[in-house]
Symmetry: C2
Subunit: 335 residues, 2 copies
Amino acid sequence: MTTTLPSEVSASQSLVRPALREAVDTLEPAMRRIVSYHLGWTDQHGDAVEGGGGKALRPALALLAAQAVRARPEAALAGAVAVELVHNFSLLHDDVMDGDTERRHRPTVWALFGTPAAILAGDALLALAVEVLEATGDLAAGRCLTSAVRRLIEGQTADIDFEGRALVGVEECLRMEDGKTASLMSCAAELGALLGGGDEAGVAALGRFGRNLGMGFQLVDDLLGIVGHPDVTGKPVLADLRVRKKSVPVVVALNSGTDSAAALREFYRGDRPPTEDDIQAMAALIDDTGAITWTRERARHYIAEAEASLAAVNPPEEIRAALADLTRFVVERDR
Amino acid sequence: MTTTLPSEVSASQSLVRPALREAVDTLEPAMRRIVSYHLGWTDQHGDAVEGGGGKALRPALALLAAQAVRARPEAALAGAVAVELVHNFSLLHDDVMDGDTERRHRPTVWALFGTPAAILAGDALLALAVEVLEATGDLAAGRCLTSAVRRLIEGQTADIDFEGRALVGVEECLRMEDGKTASLMSCAAELGALLGGGDEAGVAALGRFGRNLGMGFQLVDDLLGIVGHPDVTGKPVLADLRVRKKSVPVVVALNSGTDSAAALREFYRGDRPPTEDDIQAMAALIDDTGAITWTRERARHYIAEAEASLAAVNPPEEIRAALADLTRFVVERDR
């Protein structure tokens, strides 16, 4: 599978990029340099880089949600910028907390500029996101963002808490991923609908779309962390297994009550870094329990829920098609 | 000198503490536990502690500012809670960035619960501060807070940048301390006046009061980091010299063009941790340049400016007296 980004996502980048740059340009030069590097706009010397940056799914979602309630995409621009800033705040801090030295095939900010720089850059982006929405004067939009940030932090707290626990339930693991990923996706769509002047039902329905899309996205991410190819994901192969991350498929496998689960549990009990052989064995055991299939099915279920939630919105036909493209990309992507 | 907290500060604590607790209680249990420990309400096992917590100067300033514009202190409660949350967000992240293992005679959060916990707790308090002000529906208050957070982060970024530089100017060092400390003090007073319904001139004057008070406070803090006693400050003796911190008196000394400055510069060039003898020699050299006297005078100048700015406000007599108490405490304190 080599799934490319839907064209709506690339199109939204041409709208979002200048607005994002305008926001980042208000930061002090030293901070701007670090943030520009993190966003993939410049290399470590501050020289411009072509075609850098992440997928920018969240901003695309915000713009499409505005269009779904029949506003122009520009109406949601502040929301698109705010969610992208919050997403990058969380990446900057996550990389410090996880000790990850690489992201998108480049050294992470803390690895290159030091931990204080990465902490401060994350703080600056969170504050900037709030400022960008404050400038719209829309209090509901501001509340939507901070409530997503709260759930995001709760999800990350649970994620770290799981590391130190032998037993993690499937439901709490799904709740963790809902906080960590789906909350901000939900917020992106809600913000787009809110700023686009959508009614309460429309905002809620698009929020559900974003939440389900986010859950589907995260479960596929979990699968890629177990079966993904490093040359396309930008992460080392089987990265989640290497650090014994308790993602949904792992937790489903550990809770499956099978013989393979018992064997897998032994690997998750260890303290030493697993060897290459260990990692291959762990991946095979997880698959044996049926957890890969379970997770793939569950991801499809969330995506179906996302599509169903659009019934309450009745978006213009080309926007419905674009949102469907986005859902397909999320389940079929290989990076 | 054994200067105690002015009674207004202690009085404001009885109003602020329950409101702060109410805000913190909305956090998830795992996060609440860490934050309660950090705020000095509980020990590391989660058991309640008597008389814990910091000076809570910023909340007191917010409440007094509301009273200065003839509102009840309760009007400023959300502002008081928000600035205290932002202050603690910055302490949590600062301790990680500086690698400080003790604060107020207790292990810091990262030292006890790990770096991820401290980063996430800081993030949670920043988001919570924004939420608390959003709940007031006062957009100007929200903007006041985020603009202070931005300057706070700029100040911390400059502080870290200075560590890696041989030459730092006195003006940029004062600007750094303005960002790091005075901005949030200014915000506390502005928020109090804003939420208390003060007019534009009153809000601006109280903002100037807070900013000058903050600068005075920070300069005294810098002096205590060079000449302070560890048994009262809760910091190891001459702590700022130990880590070669470029605080205002140090930068003034380094830029004094004296023979002592040249000798001091040698100490600041080193990479190894300074010995006890080095530290004593550094303190003596700084004093020789006249930088201690200069900084003390400058602190008094800021405090005089703070008092002068109150002329534009005409607060009730007992509030003027309370604000004067606060300024006296700031310059005369020994911790």
